[in-house]
Symmetry: C2
Subunit: 357 residues, 2 copies
């Protein structure tokens, strides 16, 4: 259970009686429910401003919920979820004048269900507060993400060691994801493997195309205990020309310098600017943000974009991922870093010197 | 492009000027956008009641969108998605008094963005109409799902052939998903591997637990060209007792009979009832629905539940999946079937006789 008290302070300040995080689709994952309770499956988390939070879980989720440090009720067979929520809210003597939700996750259908059972309640959006709260990691979260990065490093190393055996982009993706699942982890996002000209697309849609000579961008992240990692390495298939090696090494120098230049209290957009300066004539080829926070969501605060008003702070875990894209190829190098005690720690340790495969 | 004209008839009837399906999260997948256009990534599909539909896609989606048979616009770099949608809607001379959405997929945040740009518009929910539309498959959809089932069968066969090599549930899951990704397919849902006592849970949360002796339920589905498959087989680790073999064979007989008993025009709930009768004393152990339609979503119409008012119709593709659950084990057998020309075709062909592994 993470930051329940801090969140309850927010609820009190905003006079929100309780917050609800909810998931009715077994293919989805509710990030806030997972964040606060450890449970991300079908059900709902009720988080009152001044009482103990509790979960309502489907029968299937009962076994998992039991292992968590939070009270949980199993939805009875013939009961509708929101009717049961209403019962349990009343039973716990929790008021419901104002109910907090995360508008980014809550669907219009869930709102209908909620309003049907809490007719007089006002819905309040807590999206920004939740992003701010999740931005600064606790010790426990830091330990989890560190471990996640270690697992991800191990998988990437295995992948590069014997890269020649892969014939298609899909095979590389399948391998990385197989090693992830074998370790009982999930994915942060669909793995990107972009070889040859495909590497010029930032988020290439990996397919069964043959792996081509030249740069191959691999962007891969695992979800370990609900927390995401996010690493990109660009390897080279074949023998790079002098030009290719030079442009790669230029980006690598810029990426390493960017990590060193992360300073608590500084504005993230300034680092973005300084990376552009370092890239010189290639600044125009750097077409995305420099990085983003990671956590239970793959994109969290801070944002390292041009227009960001975020600052570097202790407790943040974020990516540093400059990339440059040309007509026929692209390169991106991405690490996950932790800011703690005014220092920067690189959590992803897979080698960054150009790997020839 | 599937059923655009049929959908436009619905829009006309309901006087909805256009429908919008939208996705701003690159980890998600919009089922309706994928259904109508083939594109499921970041962007929006605008489907006017009497003009040609068009896509707005992120720069990353441009390459994929280009290959589709639908007009697409790439979101310019410094443009907000909904501002650009508004521009393009106006430019296409599409009115916007009433806008249709799918409430099950549309978040409160998307609604805010939409309302900001279409201030006077009324939002209309098309969820039920979309479910009805997607329920009956076209020839093209049938061919895709048939192929998906064939691929899934191939993967399951490989899995059972050499099952002894797996030590944990997570390893079986990893293998199935690896073979899926290698074939450039995605997953319909997180694979369930439930051995020993875990098989008594319907949707067991697969972990790195060792595979135990006894029944092992494997529920696995792939997403091929945006369409889901869904198969369950229960294998036996070790040598089954006479009792175990008998209870399995009883369920298998019931499952086979249920498939034969599917009749166009009949109510689905009646089949559910007749399965309960066939199960006799084990009816109480059958604790979930008999099946559900599949398509771009893993759960579509018809619903084969107690209270369903759905009927069997030509063009449906659905699962038949009776299961019985006891304190220490569970069994489920699930096939995907197609109803066409008043006949039933079983699309999943992995053997159903108890497999000893």
């Amino acid at each position: 259970m993470v930051k329940i008290k801090e969140f309850q302070e927010i609820l009190k300040k905003k006079k929100i009686d309780f917050a609800i995080f909810c998931n009715i689709d077994f293919v989805r994952f509710d990030c806030d429910m997972a964040y606060f309770s450890g449970y991300g499956g079908i059900g709902a988390l009720i988080l009152p401003k001044d009482k103990k939070p509790f979960l309502i879980v489907s029968r299937d989720g009962a076994a998992k919920a039991k292992k968590l440090k939070i009270k949980s009720y199993v939805l009875p067979k013939k009961k509708r979820l929101f009717e049961f929520i209403k019962e349990k809210v009343r039973h716990s003597k929790v008021k419901s004048r104002k109910i907090g939700v995360n508008k980014e996750e809550f669907t219009l259908l869930l709102k209908d269900y909620l309003k049907k059972n809490f007719k007089k309640s006002r819905l309040m959006d807590l999206r920004e507060e939740l992003y701010k709260l999740r931005e600064i990691k606790t010790k426990k979260e830091i330990e989890i993400i560190k471990k996640g990065c270690k697992i991800s490093d191990e998988i990437l190393r295995m992948c590069f060691k014997d890269f020649k055996k892969f014939k298609t982009e899909a095979e590389v993706k399948a391998f990385l994801e197989y090693e992830t699942k074998k370790r009982n982890c999930e994915l942060s996002f669909p793995t990107i493997v972009a070889s040859g000209k495909n590497s010029s697309e930032v988020h290439h849609d990996t397919s069964d195309e043959k792996i081509k000579r030249g740069f191959c961008v691999i962007d891969f992240g695992i979800r370990y205990k609900n927390y995401c990692t996010d690493t990109t390495r660009t390897v080279y298939v074949g023998k790079p020309t002098k030009n290719d090696a030079e442009i790669y090494n230029k980006l690598l120098r810029v990426q390493k310098k960017a990590i060193i230049d992360v300073k608590v209290g500084e504005e993230c957009k300034n680092l973005n600017e300084s990376v552009k300066r370092s890239l010189g004539s290639n600044a125009k080829n750097f077409i995305h943000g420099l990085g983003h926070g990671i956590g239970v969501k793959i994109h969290e605060l801070p944002n390292l974009t041009e227009k960001s008003s975020d600052k570097f702070e202790n407790g943040q875990i974020l990516t540093i991922e400059p990339g440059i894209y040309f007509k026929n190829f692209g390169i991106r190098i991405e690490d996950d870093i932790l800011i703690l005690d005014n220092r920067v720690f690189v959590l992803t340790k897979t080698r960054k010197e150009l790997i020839l495969v």
